[in-house]
């Protein structure tokens, strides 16, 4: 029965790359947008464009776009979209370590539940 697709090394690599690059991109955008020295309006955009963060963010999005297409083409969409939910977790955990964002009890429960869900889909298909 070919209802589920085995997770090949290529699929696992694309999944991992997608999580890493998405997290890097989001954090880069956060670093660009959260810089209080940037000022307002057009000045802010020029300030951001002269620093690497926003470009790292945009570059990450372009690469992630392609990786996501490749990933989706190798798995059933219903499975792939669930596996992709891990990005929510990765970004929250990274935000905690890099920006000191608090992991409250509710956030931790949410993170654990999403991780559990992704693990079930990854293990059973």
């Amino acid at each position: 029965m070919s209802v589920t697709t085995p997770i090949t090394p290529l699929i696992a690599t694309l999944w991992l790359l997608n999580v890493i690059i998405d997290t890097v991109g989001q954090l880069a955008f956060k670093a660009a947008a959260g810089d209080e020295a940037a000022g307002d309006g057009l000045v802010r955009w020029i300030y951001m464009a002269r620093r690497p963060w926003i470009w790292i963010g945009i570059g990450s999005y372009v690469v992630e776009f392609l990786i996501w297409i490749a990933f989706l083409s190798l798995l059933p969409l219903s499975e792939a979209i669930l596996l992709g939910s891990i990005n929510i977790v990765a970004i929250m955990v990274a935000g905690h370590f890099l920006f000191g964002e608090k992991l409250t009890r509710l956030r931790l429960s949410g993170i654990l539940l999403v991780t559990l869900g992704v693990a079930i889909v990854g293990a059973v298909g």
Binding site: A70, S78, I88, M92, L106, R107, L113, L116, V124
Partner: protein, 139 residues
């Protein structure tokens, strides 16, 4: 427009754009198989119309999200913005003849419960910046 109608329409539109995006990504990828790190693969992707559906889905979702965030509280907005996981899963059964396996249903339920937790976390545990308090009292 009543506030409730505005949210409902907004979130429905967001879910629609997200679903269109995901389905277009899938079609674009399927048409470009086999996956390879080559110019040929990139050409197969960008010469097929579905990839532009993916772009439309992303851009549409982005602007809908930004409009919603202007008015909607972040917690429910965050949770609702991830509900496309479910709509996409159901649509794939219909469009791609996929199966709702037990693993997927259980996984989706756990993920959904997690997203709801995170939504509540943003609503009740979120400590607003002075700026946000300022704009909230002004409203």
């Amino acid at each position: 427009m009543k506030r409730g109608t505005f949210y409902l329409l907004g979130f429905a539109l967001l879910m629609l754009f997200d679903s269109v995006g995901a389905i277009s990504f899938k079609y674009a990828g399927d048409h470009a198989l086999p996956v390879e790190a080559s110019v040929a693969w990139l050409l197969r992707i960008f010469t097929h119309p579905w990839v532009y559906g993916a772009v439309i889905g992303y851009v549409g979702a982005f602007f809908t999200w930004m409009t919603l965030l202007k008015h909607a509280p972040i917690g429910p907005a965050f949770a609702a913005s991830h509900l496309e996981v479910v709509s996409v899963m159901l649509l794939s059964v219909w469009l791609f003849n996929e199966h709702l396996t037990l693993g997927r249903v259980l996984g989706a339920l756990a993920i959904l419960a997690g997203i709801v937790c995170l939504g509540f976390a943003e609503s009740y545990e979120h400590v607003p910046d002075p700026e946000e308090v300022d704009s909230a009292t002004r409203r």
